[in-house]
């Protein structure tokens, strides 16, 4: 617990809109990779993960409009019904923004539990819309991706914090 509080006190560079856009595009590219076969079951929804990350870390700079637009882009790329990812990501963004103070208080593992529940909700919304639209339930393997996404929460946070750490001025010493 103690070291996480220190981590929160760490001073990072201010997040620019361009950096957020870059992470979103990277997540989208990862989602668009030609996943197939067994790997498809393990594929986490990178875009949902990054959307949730920015809603929790930067709720003032990242909000519904971006989340919703990302949802529409995902719907086009996957050829699914227009609006299903948009709806899921809007609700995910809401949950992230409302809970951001609480989630940031917790240590690493407890954060993962929170994030897992939020991502599960996201996947359940997509699943529900698919089932209503007439698809057949593909089995519980569908939720492996959710677990993988939740497991990626801490590495993602560490990576983004690493990128935002200020570079030390060599003239200082």
């Amino acid at each position: 617990m103690a070291d996480t509080r220190i981590e929160h006190q760490e001073i990072l560079l201010p997040v620019r809109a361009g950096f957020i856009a870059l992470t979103l595009v990277t997540a989208l590219m990862l989602n668009l990779l030609p996943w197939s076969g067994v790997a498809l079951w393990f594929k986490p929804d990178f875009v949902a993960l990054v959307v949730l990350y920015w809603c929790i870390e930067q709720p003032r700079k990242f909000g519904f409009i971006s989340a919703w637009m990302m949802g529409l882009v995902m719907d086009v790329a996957d050829g699914t019904l227009f609006g299903q990812h948009a709806l899921a990501y809007s609700i995910l963004a809401y949950a992230g923004i409302v809970l951001h103070r609480r989630v940031r208080m917790f240590s690493g593992t407890a954060q993962v539990v929170h994030v897992f529940v939020l991502l599960l909700m996201n996947d359940l919304i997509v699943l529900t819309i698919r089932l209503v639209a007439g698809a057949e339930f593909a089995g519980l393997q569908y939720f492996i991706g959710t677990c993988v996404a939740a497991a990626l929460w801490l590495p993602l946070g560490a990576l983004l914090k690493l990128l935002l750490r200020p570079k030390l001025d060599p003239d200082q010493f």
Binding site: L32, P34, W35, F82, G83, A86, A138, Q141
Partner: protein, 298 residues
């Protein structure tokens, strides 16, 4: 002097209000897309924007393939070359025979005054990626409406039918595989000419013949080809082979499971059948005719 709240207090509508706005918008989109197909233009525009990303994302797989090609040995290339030459030789002989048969067929059809058979035009396409979605059997190919690909055209590989173009974007198109749930292909049994409708089951590698009477003449290993009576698929394309038949005494219909002949799950290159057929005008629906006549009477 007017005072307004400092900018850091202005946060706009509350999160709940925003959630309601965006959810309502999404639901409106869902209904508009699912029920009325109003959003196709919007989808086309968004597809053009996403297109470069899709191409870049598909690049790593292509690079891996190319690197693999680069390291093939001289021996394997020679072997492949010899095999291809032999195949080409054999196919050439078959093709000669086919040409003779086709000429004969044309002549006979002319004698019978029958309609000319469809000539198939094929366009090669590369598979960019399979849909990343365990629910639908779809693939995306690198040809679109700019290259005369239209929704509804059949897609095949060298072994048989693979699917059908369901959505064409300017430079890409979506192909729904025959194994997709809700994809139906009218077929004919090669052995005895029985017609049926083959439907996808939603799982890889299995197709199903539904509503076939228990006593219908189907055997394991029967080959099914497209019958062509729907006007969508040209007749005679191989589709599937019957692999399992369950005939239960208490059931009216037999359960007939088939496997697709085309490489439905593993492919890099496909052929889009672009030729269109001139069909005779559809017979007018009697009910519609009655409906059309009624207002005139009144």
């Amino acid at each position: 002097m007017e005072y307004s709240a400092p900018p850091f207090f202005k946060t706009g509508p509350t999160p709940l209000a925003r959630l309601l706005i965006f959810s309502a918008l999404s639901l409106a989109f869902l209904v508009a897309d699912a029920r009325f197909n109003y959003l196709e233009p919007l989808r086309q525009i968004a597809a053009v924007i996403v297109y470069p990303l899709q191409r870049i994302a598909a690049a790593p797989a292509a690079i891996v393939r190319n690197v693999g090609d680069f390291f093939t040995t001289h021996g394997s290339l020679r072997e492949e070359n010899a095999r291809l030459k032999r195949e080409n030789f054999e196919n050439g002989a078959l093709l000669l025979q086919l040409k003779a048969l086709q000429a004969e067929n044309d002549q006979l059809r002319e004698l019978l005054a029958a309609r000319e058979r469809l000539k198939i035009d094929l366009a090669a396409a590369e598979v960019l990626y399979a849909a990343r979605d365990p629910f639908s059997r779809k693939i995306v190919i690198d040809r679109g409406s700019q290259q005369d690909v239209r929704p509804g055209q059949p897609v095949m590989d060298d072994r048989g039918l693979v699917g059908q173009v369901t959505r064409a974007y300017p430079w890409l198109s979506e192909v729904t595989l025959v194994t997709d749930k809700g994809q139906f292909v009218p077929v004919q049994n090669v052995r005895n000419g029985l017609r049926a409708v083959l439907s996808g089951t939603g799982s890889d590698g299995t197709l199903e013949l539904r509503f076939i009477p228990v006593n219908a003449d189907y055997q394991n290993g029967d080959e099914l080809v497209t019958s062509g009576i729907d006007g969508v698929y040209p007749p005679g394309l191989p589709v599937a082979r019957v692999t399992q038949i369950e005939r239960a005494a208490d059931q009216i219909f037999a359960r007939i499971t088939c496997t697709p002949l085309g490489g439905v799950a593993n492919h890099a290159h496909l052929l889009v059948v672009t030729g269109s057929r001139e069909l005779p005008p559809r017979p007018v629906d009697e009910k519609k005719q009655v409906r059309a006549k009624k207002p005139r009477k009144s």
